[in-house]
Amino acid sequence: MDALAQVAPVAQPLLNDVDNALATLGAPPAHPVWRHLRSLQATPAQTVRGFVDMDPHHLRAAAATLREQAQSYTQASIPGAGPWDGAAAEHYAVTAATVRDHLASDRADSMVGRLRALASAVADLADWQQSSRDALAGALAGALMSRQAMTVRSHPAVGSSLGAATGRPATDGLAEAVLAAADIGAALLSVAQDAVAAAQRLVAPLEALDELRYAPPAFTDPIGYGSTIRLY
């Protein structure tokens, strides 16, 4: 269980209050939370939930499967020249070498190269998920211990449970509570926005891995009826 999995349940009541404040009371017009909300199209609670649900272990397992298959390709035996000779044997040897290279050469444009590249792209995604979760966990922990969290949680018009227990008038300190909720929302969404921006560089490597085309050897001397095979 990583830091986000531990802190997210603790932070859920605060996140609910922040979402509730933003939805019902809004935020100061020039507050940065509006920019983040427009950009991410999701509330702080929804955004945190999205990262909580992303478990990098699933992608790491997929990357491991791809690497296993790449290893399996390298172990496949495509015999080269055999104990025979002649035009047909030469054609076989050239074709076998081409088939072997297409399958498992060290070049990027082999099936092994494509599998390893895909495994690497998926592992990079898993790393991104984990670093994003860690960054968000840090921001959540900071929010939980902040003065703004106390302000939000203790206000009767904003704090869903603690606020009602204070017995304060709902208008007392309302502007401060609204600002505090906006600050918390902006702090969390800022981290999420950075994470989403960082993920853009991970899309291209995945999209580049289209199907590898096989290029058969070009023989200028097709095997004819006169071809011979000589056994050693």
Partner: protein, 105 residues
Amino acid sequence: MALTGTAAALHEAADRIDEAARRLGTADPGAPAFGASGAGRLGELGRALHLSWLRAQDARVSEASAHAQRVRQLAELVARASAGLAEADRSARDQGETDSQPGVA
């Protein structure tokens, strides 16, 4: 390696690649693993990443299926050559035995 051994090795390689195609086809961790169930931009990003993964995964499966078939065809060519040689060998032996029998022209 005799021709029959070469053909057998090629069939084994084709089976291995076929098995890889099957396993690759089941390697999808699902859309939620990419964050596709998230709200807003994060969910959009997750869905785009999952779609790109599916295309890359399909490409690997197609590569493997096509190559397994290619290797199998190569094995069959070798097996046919081997069968042809065996037949020629049998014919030559039969001819030799016939030639060595007294009274046969």
